[in-house]
């Protein structure tokens, strides 16, 4: 793959890398016919970002010769720490760099990034990569009942009200208003921290569709990168989400921006807390529990909340991940990887919400990892791809096999092993 960006675009490219660096430690460079995709996933697999630059973004875009294996070129996994410094100082890039060339050639394992700067200076950087299939979060956004499109600065302005250290926020949507508030876990934090809530009127959005009243909680830190990107490009941000259900399957939320030459998407897993309910939330959403779903919900998993990018938690998460996978309690087909979490005493209460506590289970908040699938045969549809051994679809009560709302596949196909992250309801898996 060989492509050339001109000066103006290098800055946008750099901004994308900044945004991706907020998500995870690794960056997948994925040159495709429809453009160059940059992807990143956080270690807990609860956040995914993808920036897709179409060939029009580049001055030149060559995929190079078709490789022997098929129609795909090399897929590279880079460590963000080695790429980010190259694009760190965007203002100096803007001033000095006239062109940037990025190329990957098959025989060597390096990505070459070459900056052609003013005064005849050329800076060449060779960054080693690992060949690796990238993950792609599959998100059926056209099936989401709740869609918001916010003008460029709106969300950015909203999040300034929250301290930079705020981890998670809750976005509530009803047909009358949209509100953002900060989220706490644990009774101790709850009492002494400052609660902030911002309420917006639907009129402020370019597009407002709330099919189902919902509250979703997601990690704010991971989103800030995309919001900064959107603001700098004055692009509106679309938010696609589903209602929270009382089933334990998580429903991610997707933030995206696009213009003619690029698309950026961030998919974040949401917290499930059966006690977070706005006043308008129906007490019992009809849950299309398939038998396995119910089974999954009652898995006696010791749980611990997964956090992205928090060093002290990562080891805990990774340990528990393996243990939950090895746990004999979990039946392979209904493997629900609930990232472990310490049991929170049942004192969590939300002001003026009549908490319809679901039964006797203590309030437990769970972040599910997103479901991914390999990119092996991605390009066309976000439906189940052939070739994956295990596909899982979760249907929302609709029995049709054609469209499975909110289905999230998962599977990370590495060259070595098929690694199943999460899925549910294998009965509905199908092969095409």
């Amino acid at each position: 793959m060989d492509c050339v960006l001109d000066g103006n675009c290098v800055k946008a490219f750099g901004k994308a890398i900044h945004a991706l660096s907020r998500i995870g430690d690794e960056l997948w460079l994925d040159p495709m016919v429809r453009g160059l995709a940059l992807r990143s996933v956080n270690s807990a697999h609860s956040a995914y970002a993808c920036f897709l630059f179409s060939p029009l973004f580049f001055q030149q875009y060559n995929l190079g010769s078709v490789s022997e294996e098929g129609n795909e070129t090399i897929k590279c996994k880079l460590v963000i720490k080695s790429v980010l410094p190259l694009f760190r100082c965007l203002s100096s890039i803007e001033r000095n760099v006239k062109r940037c060339q990025i190329s990957i050639s098959a025989p060597c394992d390096r990505v070459m990034i070459r900056f052609f700067c003013r005064h005849g200076i050329t800076k060449t950087h060779n960054v080693r990569f690992q060949e690796s299939e990238a993950l792609q979060a599959v998100f059926a956004s056209h099936l989401c009942p709740n869609v918001l499109k916010a003008p460029a600065r709106l969300l950015g302005d909203m999040v300034t009200h929250f301290p930079v250290s705020q981890e998670e926020i809750t976005l509530s949507m009803t047909s009358l208003r949209v509100s953002l508030r900060n989220y706490f876990e644990g009774a101790k934090d709850h009492i002494k921290t400052m609660h902030t809530e911002i309420s917006l009127h639907p009129e402020e959005f370019d597009y407002f569709q709330v099919g189902v009243d919902s509250d979703i909680t997601f990690c704010l830190k991971e989103l800030r990168g995309l919001l900064a990107f959107a603001e700098s490009h004055c692009l509106p941000v679309s938010v696609h989400s589903s209602a929270t259900g009382s089933c334990v399957v998580c429903r991610p939320v997707c933030f995206s921006v696009e213009d003619m030459v690029l698309e950026a998407t961030v998919v974040l897993a949401t917290l499930i807390d059966s006690e977070i309910r706005g006043p308008s939330q129906p007490t019992e959403t009809p849950v299309p529990t398939t038998p396995r779903c119910v089974h999954a919900a009652t898995l006696p998993v010791g749980s611990c909340e997964a956090r992205s990018n928090i060093p002290h938690d990562i080891t805990a998460v990774t340990e528990l991940v393996t243990s939950s996978q090895d746990s004999p309690i979990i039946n392979p087909p209904a493997l629900m990887q609930l990232l472990p979490q310490t049991d929170i005493p049942n004192e969590f209460c939300v002001p003026d919400a009549a908490c319809p506590s679901t039964s006797t289970t203590p309030a437990s908040t769970v972040i599910c990892s997103l479901l991914f699938r390999a990119l092996s045969s991605d390009e066309d549809d976000d439906s189940c791809a052939a070739g994956l051994n295990v596909l899982a679809c979760y249907s929302d009560g609709e029995e049709t096999m054609e469209d499975y709302p909110r289905s999230f596949l998962l599977g990370e196909v590495t060259q070595d092993a098929l690694h199943i992250l999460t899925f549910c309801d294998v009965a509905q898996s199908r092969s095409k």
Partner: protein, 285 residues
Amino acid sequence: MKFRGKIVDVACLNHFSRVITTISKLTKMCVLRLTPDNLFFVLSEKVANGGVSMWCELSQANFFDEYQMEGVSPEDNEICLEVTPENLSRALKTVQSAKSVKVKLTKKHCPCLTIAAELPTLSSISRVVTHDVPVDVIPRRLWHEFIEPSVPDFDVSIYLPPLKTMKNVVDRMKNLSNFLVIEANLNGEMNLKIETDLVSVTTHFKDLGNPPWGDDSSQDGGPSQGRDPDSMAEARVDIRRLQQFLMGQQVNPSKAMCNIVHQRILHLILLHEDVSLQYFIPAVA
């Protein structure tokens, strides 16, 4: 107990935020006393603070357009709350462009000072931002700890040099020593001194002027009577406390002065138009 105040003027909001930010730089937690006419931020002297204490008085009419309060009881028409000023400061910082800001005492998950702001938007309907700052209500039996401190029987009272200059000097001195001696006399001279085994540094300020306490002072027969104008009164203080005080100042006060009780206390007073701030730093041996 009820409290409800509303700030509508941008300049007042700005000023109010800056006062609170200054307080937040001085102390992590303090007591807010609300009376029908004033707000007081009080830090009482405790070993944990290193013996410093603070008294900041704001006249509510200068900030609030609307101000209603009902104290604990008709005889004790006051409210005493323990609050973390940094939370308040953060909350106010984000709403500087608001059309109006209401501050109310509420009970949510715990007693809170709720800051509710209406932010202007392009559409006709404003955005509402609410910050709930948790507070602790101080019971009446403890109120005696938070009364206005009396001006001590000082030996010298002198106007301070420009705070920025003083801050620069103190910042650099902090690198050399943990304690600083501040001395002044009635001739308008002040010295800041540090002394270590290796080096001693003194910065001299002249022609500062001495405030005329005269009848205004609360103690009898002013200390300046019969005192040799050249004789210095000094106090040796922890330099970090002084630095903390100087760091937090956001606005140049109309008057800045200090009273020194020889080898006992350094009493700093800042007067703005509508806010007065007093800070007491005990002297160490």
